[in-house]
Symmetry: C2
Subunit: 177 residues, 2 copies
DNA sequence: ATCCATACAGTCCAGATCGGACGGTATGCG
DNA sequence: CGCATACCGTCCGATCTGGACTGTATGGAT
């Protein structure tokens, strides 16, 4: 049974565990404002995945009768157990990165001479911008306690951004200096 | 035409540009030893993608007659132009990360009290190991000039690993200290 | 009241991707 | 010669993807 579950499944289970019963749209917004920062999600999956989890007995659905037939999903005990088991088990996979800029750098020999410098400039600017956004978020949120707890993951994102910035900056120095 | 190309397409084009004419299996090995470190590839795509690129006129295929019918792919001029154009154009997308450990950290409130500490320990160990592997690679390769050039991307990987290590270490300090 | 614009909520689908199972072919070794 | 083990390639169902599309509420201007 556990074999059938993907990270996506756990995102759904986990979000419902943190926020309580939710509709797909709730999930979409919640994910957008949180995990979405470090893990990309197409919203369509947040509509199909909960149904799968209902079939597996990890969620219960409650259909609302009003004008809009929405379905609210809540955790079953099995679902909560499954989530806890996942949290407790070792994490074998290593993180994966997909970085177009890094790909381009790898193939730079094939391109024109100035390309690396331009690429590096571009990346330095992009990372600086992201860092500013993150820091802004942190400032605005550190006061709210509940949210602050979850900000811990943002710190990792920030570390990553700084690492990338350092890399591209030093590359830029080497290339243009 | 350019719209039909995915990052995968450029990996194939780029690898052939760097290594010369290649079979799918050549690509598989080359990718495994290089880009594979920072960009995951299922091998099946390295068998289907080149054919697509032939259909688009970016590669030429040459079927070998011997016992095994292998197909060797080489760049066409159009293919080289397409690759160069891609290298020269701005890179809009931001890098994406998928990190199971980070997901678990995000949902940690739902789990047991000791989980974060265990997770952090685990990650510290894992990142240390990867760093060792990278550094070993660098040492072995810096002498070979052609390869050394391409090692530049490894430096980014290394920076990322260090960033992650710093993060999990400091988290571990906070949690267990 | 009626109309339009806009945000909100959900569905759908045709590709792209995925990984793993499988089947053939060479190579080495007892 | 026969077997095991790598090497090489194909195939397929299951997922994932993003974007187009439908419909529903809201609210302001007319």
């Amino acid at each position: 049974m556990a074999e059938r579950l993907s990270p996506t499944s756990y995102v759904v289970l986990g979000t419902i565990a943190l926020r309580g019963p939710s509709t797909s749209y709730d999930l979409k917004r919640a994910v957008g404002r949180s995990i979405g920062y470090f893990w990309h999600f197409p919203h369509a999956q947040l509509y199909s995945e909960p149904q799968r989890l209902v079939d597996l007995g990890l969620l219960e659905a409650e259909t609302e009768e009003g004008g809009r037939r929405r379905r609210t999903f809540r955790l079953t005990d099995t679902g909560r157990d499954e989530l806890r088991a996942w949290l407790a088990e070792p994490t074998p996979e290593h993180f994966q990165m997909r970085d177009i800029a890094e790909l381009k750098l790898f193939f730079n020999e094939v391109g024109a001479p100035g390309d690396v410098e331009r690429l590096a400039r571009e990346q330095v600017a992009a990372h600086r911008e992201r860092i500013a956004v993150y820091e802004d978020m942190q400032e605005r949120y550190t006061s709210l306690d509940a949210v602050a707890k979850r900000m811990i993951t943002l710190r990792l994102g920030l570390e990553m951004e700084h690492a990338a910035l350092r890399f591209w900056s030093s590359l830029l120095d080497e290339v243009s200096g």
